[in-house]
Amino acid sequence: MLALAFDTATDACTVAIGTEDKLYGEFTMYAPRAHMERLIPMVDYLLKQSDFSIGDIRGLTVGLGPGSFTGVRIGVATAKILAQALNLPLVGISTLDCLAYPFTFGEELVCVVLDAKRGEVYSAIYRCLGGKFDLITPYQVMPPRDLCSKLKEYKQRVILVGDALYPYGDLLKNSLGSSVDFAPPWLWFPKASNLIALAMDKLLGGEGKEIFQVVPIYVRLSEAEGKVGRAPTCRGRAGPPNGRAGREGKFFPWKPLKSPG
């Protein structure tokens, strides 16, 4: 089955086309806050260069996050509408699973860490064995120090991978010492070919028909839901509070009625 995959949950924009036994092409770019401009042109380029057209695709898979709220929505909305318009099955895969996949052939613990901003990381821990992996924690968000304490409990070598190693690599290394190994940096961002590998059995098994039900994995509540009562809202003419994609989570401070004048 020819499948198209993409993930836009991190600073990388990654697209791949492949079947159950062949990767036809993959295109990954470091493109922070540029997913809206890049995604469809990258899909189009990859299809053209591999002599396919969008009509040849028989299945879709997309990275669901967690990651940038705005980024992940661009990928998920694009995938859901493609699935609806072309009547294709769509299987969503966690971006954390996508990052863990290359390590499944070892026999170690793998911990994926993505930068969740605001001093926290998204993480998940996997036990790998002979090409399969078990997710042994929920997808969660926490400060990197809390993750260190959790990892120490395993008393086992852990491979760390993910873009949170850029800001927090030193902190993790200093705290965990020789019990952790960092994956090489070119594996720290997701690659869409891994989504195809993870989704293919489900697509071949007839899953992915309920496309309306596909939603991003946010892990975090929206900031407003997290503190109901101190409602940050935005309805002003100034447009959005946060201005740019990828800097989600900062809302307009609620302006009190006692404005000057």
């Binding site: 809206m36 469809i40 694009t78 859901k80 309306f212 959005p240 307009f252 009625l257 000057p260």
Partner: protein, 343 residues
């Protein structure tokens, strides 16, 4: 599905704020479907639109809303002529979902994609219902996010004459309603209460009534209402809600009428066009009607469902851009502060 081969069928997507909307129109004016999935219930407990919640709801609702627009119009995607989407102004995260959906649909179907300005959409709501309407005219767009006075010379040619320097009209309604604990959204509630009130009961300031520009300011009025209520409370007096609401509304409307008329005279046009959610306000419609009649100007405003955010108005604005051959490419992006210009 009924084949409508002879017709120009436009599908539009609008997600600039908290309404997930899709519509199909034929020949630039016949509404075949106009689906609006309002999220107002999700935002009520916060007393305003929460951008992150709006964006999350758009991702959940965009597919069923488009499916419903097609099914109600009895149109298949392959029968469409073009796609239209709102590029701004609005909430960044919310706009992005609409554009991602529109680009994806355009790529899947090969249909041309046209981008429009949300404010332009509010003006074009009038072209859906008033087939005799032709530019040039002065348009006042008043909504939860905007208060703009626009000179529209021709299709696609606009000049922004003035806008609010602080709060948009709808925003002021929401904040006053929130302060008085009347509920959300504030516009319809204050409008209803005003019907039993005297607009001359309380003298609130008419900000910027005498200034030479076409700008508006509502923060001073908001403070005046707040101070008035606080004084009444301190004296232990009852708050006359209908009079208060009617007087507050009148203060907003007086300035809007004055500046709209002055702009129309200065530009030498005899038509005034209202648009936006606040144009659904019954007192605003009635007062504008009376004042325009006095000076012999023609007034146009959309029916109430077309005043609030919807995709039919976006489809209509897109139709005129489509006629001119305008297209956006697949690397287009949204602009939360998209200016209304051109010409």
């Amino acid at each position: 599905m009924v084949k409508r081969l002879a017709e120009k069928l436009i599908l539009a997507i609008e997600t600039s704020c908290d309404e997930t909307a899709a519509a199909i129109i034929a020949e630039g004016k016949i509404i075949l479907s106009n689906i609006v999935s309002s999220q107002v219930d999700f935002h009520r407990k916060f007393g305003g639109v929460v951008p992150e919640i709006a964006s999350r709801k758009h991702v959940e609702l965009i597919n069923p809303v488009i499916a419903e627009a097609c099914s109600q119009a009895r149109v298949a995607l392959k029968d469409l002529t073009a796609l239209v989407v709102t590029l701004g102004p609005g909430l960044m995260g919310a706009l992005l979902v609409g554009l991602a959906a529109a680009k994806s649909l355009s790529y899947a179907t090969g249909l041309p994609l046209i981008g429009v300005n949300h404010l332009e959409g509010h003006i074009y709501a009038n072209f859906l219902e008033h087939t005799d309407l032709k530019p040039p005219f002065i348009s006042l767009v008043v909504s939860g996010g905007h208060t703009c006075l626009i000179y529209m010379e021709d299709h696609g040619r606009y000049e922004l004459l003035g806008e609010t320097l602080d709060d948009a009209a709808g925003e002021a309604f929401d904040k006053i309603a929130g302060f008085l604990k009347l509920g959300y959204p504030g516009g319809p509630i204050i409008d209803d209460l005003s019907k039993q009130g005297d607009p001359r009961a309380i003298k609130f300031p008419r900000a910027m009534l005498k200034t030479e520009d076409y700008d508006f300011s509502l923060s001073g009025l908001k403070t005046a209402v707040l101070n008035h209520v606080t004084r009444l409370k301190e004296r232990g007096e009852e708050i006359p809600l209908p009079d208060l609401c009617a007087s507050f509304q009148a203060a907003i409307i007086d300035v809007q009428i004055h500046k709209t008329l002055r702009a129309a005279k200065e530009r030498g046009v005899d038509k005034v066009v209202l648009g936006g959610g606040v144009a659904a306000n019954s007192s605003l419609r009635e007062r504008f009607r009376q004042e325009m009649e006095k000076v012999g100007m023609r007034l146009f405003y959309p029916s109430i469902p077309l005043c609030t955010d919807n995709a039919a108005m976006i489809a209509c604005a897109g139709y005129y851009r489509w006629l001119k051959g305008e297209r956006i490419s697949l690397d287009a992006n949204v602009d939360p502060n998209l200016p209304l210009c051109g010409g």
